[in-house]
Symmetry: C2
Subunit: 366 residues, 2 copies
């Protein structure tokens, strides 16, 4: 059913690249679903339909593309960036629709590891006599859906840690001032990063120090879930996060918080108690709520705990052209167990991007 590498025509590659580009248009907006894009050609190889999955509950990519194609799909080809589903979810199985459209050939970038699909979608198409090929642009397709695939494989949301620091590695002055280290271009980029995430996590310390808003400034609708992870529940009575007019807020704590925060109950802020105040349980709880990718914008202690527990897959480190120095001025990561340099966490050279005067280093952790 799969084609060997190099067996694809230039047209195959071009159309699958188009399907992937369509899929990426909804980056961060489809959770818990994957990103999917689809292209339909008629029997003569002409483009007659295309589409992508916009958000959970909205039509699947194949549905959009086939609806656009109508009867012109008969005898044609479908390119789709992920295996068509074959189960009844919020929408009917795409495999039935594809078969019904009378397509001659279906090209799929990669299987869907969702246990309800996992090859059964492809088998249903082949059983109906359609020529099915799998594996075209599979690397790019996997990279595109890394958060979705990570959640399915681990049961945890993929974690992105973001920090902004000075050239000398400080996140704040020794008196705790951190607004603003990075410039407007970098802060705008952070808003766009939030728009690609399902939730943004901070700790109680960041809430108390910065009273942040944590939204994408309207770049995503709905805004990502704003999560305050607090062992103690020693949280301020007034905070911009308690106003849920713009975006939802969730307070997560351990089994026995030492403090009470009446404000959050009075204001109806959602609350979740974990069996243990652990970043791993938080990443699992958010995955269970449908988050594929979460952004950690927390201080050094929570960031180090998340790193230690394997909750971070990507680091977005912003550096501003200034020096802060200081004894006790915050750095991005507290202790995560490195005593000797042999134990340091090593990774390939970061990708670099200038954001106004600032520098972004983007790291994929091994």
């Amino acid at each position: 059913m799969s084609s060997p590498d190099g067996d694809w025509s230039a047209a195959d590659r071009r159309w699958m690249a188009r399907a992937l580009a369509l899929a990426a248009l909804a980056d961060g907006q489809t959770s818990p679903n994957p990103l999917v894009g689809a292209v339909v050609l008629d029997a003569g190889g002409g483009l007659v339909g295309e589409g992508f999955h916009r958000r959970a509950g909205a039509p699947h990519a194949e549905v959009v593309a086939l609806a656009q194609a109508g009867p012109r799909a008969r005898g044609g080809t479908l390119y789709v960036s992920l295996e068509p589903c074959c189960h009844h979810g919020r929408t009917p199985p795409c495999s039935e629709l594809v078969v019904g459209a009378g397509l001659a050939r279906v090209v799929v970038a990669r299987q869907d590891p969702d246990p309800r699909v996992a090859g059964a979608g492809l088998a249903a198409l082949a059983a109906a006599g359609i020529s099915v090929s799998v594996g075209l642009c599979s690397g790019a397709a996997s990279a595109l859906n890394r958060p979705f695939l990570h959640r399915l494989a681990t049961g945890r949301a993929l974690g992105v840690l973001k920090w902004a620091a000075s050239l000398d590695g400080r996140q704040a002055t020794s008196d705790g001032h951190s607004q603003w280290i990075s410039g407007v271009e970098a802060r705008h980029w952070v808003h766009s990063l939030r728009a690609r995430c399902d939730a943004v996590v901070i700790g109680g310390g960041t809430l108390r120090a910065d009273d942040p808003l944590l939204t994408s400034r309207g770049q995503r609708s709905p805004e990502p879930l704003r999560v305050v992870f607090s062992r103690s529940l020693a949280l301020p009575a007034e905070a911009r996060l308690w106003d849920q007019g713009r975006a939802p807020t969730l307070v997560v704590h351990g089994p026995a918080p030492t403090q009470r925060c009446n404000a959050i109950d009075d204001l109806g802020v959602d609350r979740l108690a974990l069996a243990e105040a652990s970043p791993r349980l938080l990443a699992e709880a958010l995955a269970a709520r449908g988050c594929n990718r979460i952004l950690w914008e927390c201080g050094p202690a929570l960031a180090a705990a998340a790193l230690r527990e394997g909750c971070l897959q990507t680091i977005e480190a912003l550096e501003a052209p200034l020096l802060i120095g200081g004894c006790g001025a915050a750095t991005p990561l507290a202790d995560f167990g490195v005593r000797h340099l042999d134990q340091a966490l090593r990774f390939p050279p970061p990708r670099l991007q200038r954001l106004g005067p600032d520098l972004r280093r983007s790291v994929e952790l091994p």
Copy 2:
């Protein structure tokens, strides 16, 4: 005597660029003298001589170029990147030689601010009937001789601070391990940086923790002076710096060190007592010993003190792709007085260079 901007011919610009490129060949090797390059054309505009100043005590650039040109210089043009001297130093005045060579025109990039010259060299040439023009490529000429000009203007050696840190801004693990954070390419680049400096300064803490060699690994001859700046003189009896077979070492301390280090006296290591254990006095003392540029490879406390006292003009910050974290793991700069972000030291975006897996950010402080 000077030409207005834009009044230079394309040939003028090309020949002065050549003189500057020649001057740069001896970068870091001429102290206490400046870098100087010279080009001689004959009366027809053909190249007949060129040269540069290789080291203090060696012939000046004009001498080398005019010797090469011989009688062909008569009626010709001299391009020189700095005003010719007019005083008797270790070598006779260049202005006399230039006049004697019968040149018709001399083009100079900028005046020499040395009080023994400072325009008098140009005046001597003009008085002899030579057409003298000043100011061609003056910005590049000043940049090239920034260390020399800084020493003349301030009485202190220009300071370059170098550090190597992890992505999270750590110079060492919490147990003090720092060898090696950066890779071989970056370490090789540090050797070439040392080759452009007259002295390399560390504090007693770095000596105790790293027992470094601090040489250019033969890229400069003689090697830069290795300076240990120790308030207390609590220095180890054995250290690679005490072996002066490869490079000279100087121990600098305050007026009343609390400890003794018999080893350095027994081994004949040079010693200097300052009126106060201050980086500024050290930069002055090294300038008085003929250093134009010194490299600070010290720990966070001495680096912060040097910054506070205006001893640092350039920062070379190396970043390796690893995470260290830790409570108390060293960062590049201790406190230098920043409490609020308004007080942070801001500078233009650094120049970037990849050094193998590492990233160099090069900063000129305002």
